[in-house]
């Protein structure tokens, strides 16, 4: 069983939703980003999504775009991202890591070489935001051959037959984008999300994660009641920006928020 499948099974056995946290690799530098990963795990993160910095992150809001800019200014590269994963994995063999980014840096690295190196570094899943399944065959084959789950996004605009089609090609979990917008947009409509999650569950046995627009512990708790995983990114990344001049304070700042969110997730009354 893959690390992702194992972690989702364990979380389900505990009768709660999984807590998936996103930060950008190399933000504000590689050492601080690695320390932030440790802090998230210590505060109850079940899965870490690690953003791969890109110069033109079209699907992200300004907060995560600026995180990419900070990481690139500090010299981030694909090799550097994989090295950060390798160093994390050397001390934590249990927490699944999902890389999230855009296709071009992977294309330039080479899809086959990328999948092999990512798997060797300890990557478990991959979200390529601008790669719909119909264009994904080369990367999907390489990922599959190396045991990396391809996690796909589903949107409010995705038609039911397409949801079923995407779920057939997905691994690990599916990620429902809770609103029409970019990461870090206005808060979500939990009742609408609940209905959509029910619809998606009717079409796949994969866990359904929900993200985009979950900005505080209260909304994390409400989403935890209806989804299999709660994905939080922008709210965490804001602390990297706020502490850009004092990066040593970042792990502590995100740990406090993550711990609040995890408590709210644990306390959520599950509405399956």
């Amino acid at each position: 069983m893959s690390r992702l499948a194992g972690r989702f099974a364990a979380v389900r056995a505990e009768g709660r939703a999984a807590f998936v946290t996103f930060i950008t690799a190399g933000d504000p530098d590689a050492a601080c980003s690695l320390a932030a990963m440790r802090a998230l795990v210590a505060s109850g993160a079940d899965v870490i999504e690690l953003g791969v910095p890109f110069s033109d992150p079209m699907a992200d809001g300004p907060v995560i775009q600026r995180a990419s800019e900070r990481a690139l200014a500090a010299g981030a590269s694909m090799a550097g991202v994989l090295d950060q994963v390798r160093r994390f994995r050397a001390e934590d063999d249990a927490t699944p890591i999902v890389l999230m980014g855009y296709l071009n840096p992977i294309e330039q690295y080479g899809p086959a070489r990328f999948a092999a190196d990512a798997a060797a570094a300890g990557v478990d899943g991959l979200i390529t935001v601008d790669l719909p399944p119909e264009e994904a065959s080369e990367l999907a084959d390489a990922a599959r051959a190396n045991g990396i789950d391809l996690v796909y996004l589903l949107a409010p605009t995705t038609a039911p037959d397409r949801i079923a089609d995407i779920c057939r090609q997905a691994g690990g979990f599916v990620y429902y984008v809770s609103l029409k917008g970019v990461t870090g947009s206005a808060s979500i409509d939990v009742e609408a999300v609940a209905a959509k999650v029910r619809e998606i569950r009717g079409l796949t046995s994969l866990p359904v994660g929900v993200g985009f627009g979950i900005g505080d512990a209260e909304s994390a708790g409400r989403v935890a009641a209806v989804a299999d995983a709660v994905v939080v990114g922008t709210a965490l990344v804001r602390h990297f920006e706020a502490n850009a001049e004092t990066p040593a304070r970042i792990p502590e700042a995100i740990a406090a928020l993550a711990a609040d969110m995890r408590r709210a997730i644990d306390a959520a009354a599950r509405r399956p």
Binding site: D56, G61, N104, V129, E134, T157, T158
Partner: protein, 410 residues
């Protein structure tokens, strides 16, 4: 330059590309976040329906005739040709269109489509402001709300066009992210679209972006080449030896080239912005000095570093200052049907002055790149050879840029 007979080609190119999913060979496609798949499907279905709808085409034709002022003339630049001492050079006068460039061919078409699709809000990206002005113009004409995204750096450099857009009732949003230029404006317009997909139509200004944009924008601009082909046959009695057009995103070049794709005797030459010189790295020539990758929804040649990050471009002409290029150009380059060359800033400026003083036509700095290449090759051609150059825009918008370069305060 060799003169070939206009023999039928083995494999016709017109109508065969792109394939059903928007691929020109390995280029093009649809690389976007999932939220945009449904709106792109809706757009493709609408475009496929209306491109064959006689009523829509008649409305488009009427707008092009009476609002834009088509057909644009094909003008023999006799004095300039004589001075260069070689081929006869004909200029396709897209500078005489309403709003002063070829851009309006596309914005009129897409705005009419938006209206048929029931969209009430138009968004666009713009670099120099020409596409923004052309979009704001048709939005005013059709009574549609209009928001234009423009890099903060370009807002500063192109103040007159910003004011034009505002006069036309558009909201201009300065984009502060990334390099604060055209590519960032395009990112921001995509973000707006993903947030307002229900009521908003995104008018992309060039033959890039996810399918169906490269094909649709080509089809709206292909009127340029259709007219030019008829006009040159009527005026010169035969097809030209070569077409020359500048390439930023590539819409004016594709527009001119398309009707000639199956005329193998007609060479197609795209001119990229060489900036300070390709060897300096300060340029905007992805086809000449870049490599294939994925940006803004399609696979195409890009200016990028070894790690796949998009790098900044440089050109004296803001309209060519883009790190990608339409996927059809990438494909035409790879199959050898078109060739792509560069012209540096200084040669473009020289051509700008040369045409202005010789023919009484002030060309856009973008078009001046095509003119400079024509001036370079014409002397080596025979007196009865024919070049057609796309004079894609007028240069009034550039006089402040030229004055500043030459140390003149206006």
């Amino acid at each position: 330059m060799p003169r070939l007979e206009n023999s039928p080609s083995e494999e016709r190119l017109i109508g065969r590309f792109p394939d059903a999913s928007g691929h020109f060979g390995r280029y093009g496609g649809r690389f976007v976040a999932e939220t945009l798949i449904a709106p792109l499907d809706e757009l493709r279905e609408s475009w496929e329906r209306y491109r064959a709808d006689p009523e829509f085409l008649a409305e488009l034709d009427g707008e092009l005739r009476h609002f834009v002022g088509r057909p644009s003339p094909l003008y023999l630049a006799a004095r300039w040709s004589d001075r260069l001492g070689g081929a006869r050079i004909y200029l396709k006068r897209e500078d005489l269109n309403h709003t002063g460039a070829h851009k309006v061919n596309n914005t009129v078409g897409q705005a009419l489509l938006a209206k048929r699709m029931g969209k009430t809000r138009i968004i666009a990206e713009t670099g120099a402001g020409q596409h923004g002005v052309a979009t704001a113009t048709v939005a005013a004409r059709l009574g549609l709300e209009c928001v234009v995204y423009m890099g903060a750096e370009d807002v500063r450099r192109q103040a007159p066009n910003v004011f034009r857009m505002k006069l036309l009732g558009a909201q201009v949003v300065p984009v502060e992210s990334g390099s604060r230029t055209l590519k960032d404006a395009l990112n921001e317009a995509m973000r707006d679209w993903v947030t307002h997909v229900d009521d908003t139509y995104y008018i992309i200004g060039t033959v890039a972006g996810p399918h169906p944009y490269p094909t649709m924008v080509r089809d709206f601009n292909a009127v340029v080449g259709r007219e030019a082909r008829e006009q040159v046959l009527a005026q010169a009695g035969r097809l030209p030896d070569a077409l020359v057009a500048c390439v930023g995103g590539g819409s004016n070049a594709i527009g001119l080239f398309h009707a000639f794709l199956d005329d193998p005797g007609v060479a197609l030459v795209g001119v990229e912005a060489g900036g300070d010189g390709v060897e300096t790295g300060r340029h905007a020539a992805p086809l000449t000095a870049g490599s294939p990758g994925v940006l803004h929804g399609n696979r195409t040649y890009l200016m990028q570093d070894a790690d796949g990050q998009i790098i900044e471009t440089h050109s004296v002409s803001a309209g060519l200052d883009y790190p990608g290029v339409g996927p059809e150009h990438s494909w035409l380059k790879d199959i050898g049907r078109a060739t792509y060359v560069t012209v540096n800033d200084d040669a473009a400026l020289a051509a700008f002055h040369d045409l202005t003083r010789t023919e009484g036509i002030i060309p856009a700095l973008e078009s001046s790149h095509a003119l400079a290449h024509a001036a370079e090759i014409a002397p080596g051609m025979a007196r009865d050879d024919i070049l057609v150059v796309n004079l894609s825009g007028r240069g009034d918008k550039d006089i402040q840029t030229v004055a500043a370069i030459e140390g003149i305060t206006l």
